[in-house]
């Protein structure tokens, strides 16, 4: 569970996050959507402690994040663009992470490693990997330590359809294990069937956080994509009125 209270962040002139108050519950898959620059990635980075907020508090499973980094043990993070040390080999990366996070071998979640067929590539240096393969590495790494919270930034961008399906299954599993999954994505249709909640952001503000069923009812649209599109139209209209 993640609870965010009155979170504010400003980058010089840009108000990246504007008074965000929100609670993400366990077993939820939350789609974080909004136009480019609406503050999605900043919000994620705040939760991860990579960006420090100007004001406000974030609680991860009841623990307020501050200087103590131990809360990140409960988080698996898949960045938008996975950047890794060029010279490091794939196998080394996983070994190193294992070294840093210290977890018994039998508790590790190697499912994605196997399904993405990453094991045979353990000898390859990271710099030789294609963008898609890097995404697979990032995804496998995020799930590797079996964390209670998963934060996936644009997870399906660059993944082939087959891998996307594998990842979706994985997210589905996580949901059924009562994990909290936070996903940002542009391509909404990809995640239609998984999402339990939609959080919509614009200009650093949270416009709404709604259950998907509620959203469908309100907009009368069945597809998540269309539902959002209709909201965005309203928003635009509201701006021009």
């Amino acid at each position: 569970m993640i609870r965010i209270e009155q979170l504010n962040k400003r980058f010089r002139k840009l108000q990246a996050l504007d008074n965000i108050n929100v609670v993400f519950g366990n077993g939820n898959v939350i789609s974080l959507i909004g136009p480019n620059g609406s503050g999605k990635t900043t919000l994620i980075k705040c939760i991860l402690g990579m960006v420090t907020a100007d004001e406000g508090r974030i609680y991860v499973n009841g623990q307020m994040i501050s200087n103590d980094p131990s809360y990140r043990e409960q988080i698996g993070y898949m960045p938008q663009i996975g950047r890794y040390p060029d010279n490091m080999r794939v196998g080394e990366l996983f070994r190193m992470m294992k070294n840093i996070r210290i977890m018994p071998e039998n508790q590790l979640d190697k499912e994605l490693l196997e399904k993405f067929r990453l094991m045979p590539m353990f000898d390859k240096p990271m710099r030789t990997l294609s963008g898609g393969t890097r995404q697979k590495v990032s995804a496998a790494l995020a799930f590797y330590f079996n964390p209670a919270i998963l934060i996936l930034d644009e997870p399906t961008a660059g993944l082939d359809p087959l891998s996307t399906e594998i990842l979706k299954e994985k997210i589905q599993d996580a949901r059924s294990q009562q994990k909290l999954v936070l996903v940002t994505s542009h391509i909404l249709s990809d995640l239609d069937e998984l999402t339990t909640h939609v959080m919509y952001m614009q200009d650093g503000k949270m416009i709404f956080l709604k259950q998907i069923d509620v959203l469908r009812q309100e907009t009368g649209e069945d597809k998540l994509g269309k539902a959002i599109a209709s909201i965005m139209k309203h928003e635009l209209k509201a701006q021009f009125v």
């Binding site: 980075k45 991860l48 988080i75 490091m88 840093i100």
Partner: protein, 255 residues
């Protein structure tokens, strides 16, 4: 933390720059001892290497390493590791590898050809300068937004410590030549680690005698236990303060 340091070291050793640096220092030091007719002249030439090359290479290497490790640092940041630990591991990794390069490149020739007080002073000063400029470079890197700015900033700092500062000292000494400035120069020397290193090595080389009243004052000051403690503490401050500042800035930095 040692695990993290091990990965940093591993990464540095793999790109071979440090090894090249060590070999370069070794070849230069070795040939200086071979070419110069006497050992003290070689030490004097080596002094220039230590005062100019060690800070320069140390800073540039540190800055480039920092930016090349940016991905690694980002990756680590999403893990349950504190920022302080990440940065200190990076610092330790860089400092240890540069120190090893210096110890091999300059240390071995000095121990072979000039196994005496001056030699030791040179090694200790060189080691201290390595740590100091690694620390300063970390500060400059953390504070700058991108690699180009970082390297530019680093070069500027090097230029300042190696050259401009002494120019300013010369200016000050001439502007206030009517006043007794000897004690003041003691303070001035403490404000630039390169000067402090240079003066403490020169005092060991017994060049102090030709420095007249200033030299006698320096010898009386630096030669005593209190003076050595002073030099040591100032050097230590030069290592700790920039590093501490870098850690503080890194803690607040948005990645």
């Amino acid at each position: 933390m040692t695990r993290l340091i091990r990965y940093v070291l591993y990464d540095i050793l793999r790109n071979k720059v440090v090894i090249t640096y060590a070999l370069f220092l070794f070849v230069v030091s070795f040939s200086l001892f071979q070419l110069e007719e006497n050992e003290s002249k070689a030490i004097l030439s080596l002094l220039n290497i230590v005062l100019i090359v060690v800070p320069l290479i140390g800073m540039i290497f540190t800055t480039i390493h920092y930016y090349n490790s940016y991905e690694f640092i980002e990756l680590m940041l999403s893990q349950p590791l504190s920022r302080k630990r990440i940065l200190l591991s990076e610092f330790t990794g860089v400092a240890v590898s540069l120190l090893c390069a210096f110890a091999f490149g300059v240390g071995v020739p000095v121990l072979i050809f000039s196994f005496n007080d001056t030699g030791f002073a040179l090694l200790i000063a060189g080691g201290a300068l390595t740590l100091i400029f690694t620390s300063i470079a970390f500060l400059a890197s953390v504070k700058s937004r991108d690699k180009a700015r970082g390297i530019g900033f680093t070069l500027l700092l090097w230029f300042y410590f190696a050259l401009i500062y002494d120019g300013l000292v010369l200016l000050v000494l001439f502007s206030f030549s009517d006043y007794p400035m000897e004690k003041f120069t003691l303070l001035l020397s403490a404000l630039n680690p390169i000067d402090l290193a240079r003066i403490s090595i020169m005092l060991k080389m017994d060049v102090s005698a030709l420095m007249g009243y200033t030299g006698a004052l320096y010898k009386n000051f630096f030669g005593t236990g209190a003076g050595m403690l002073f030099t040591g503490s100032i050097m230590l401050l030069w290592i700790i303060l920039p590093l501490w500042w870098a850690v503080t800035a890194f803690n607040k930095k948005d990645m």
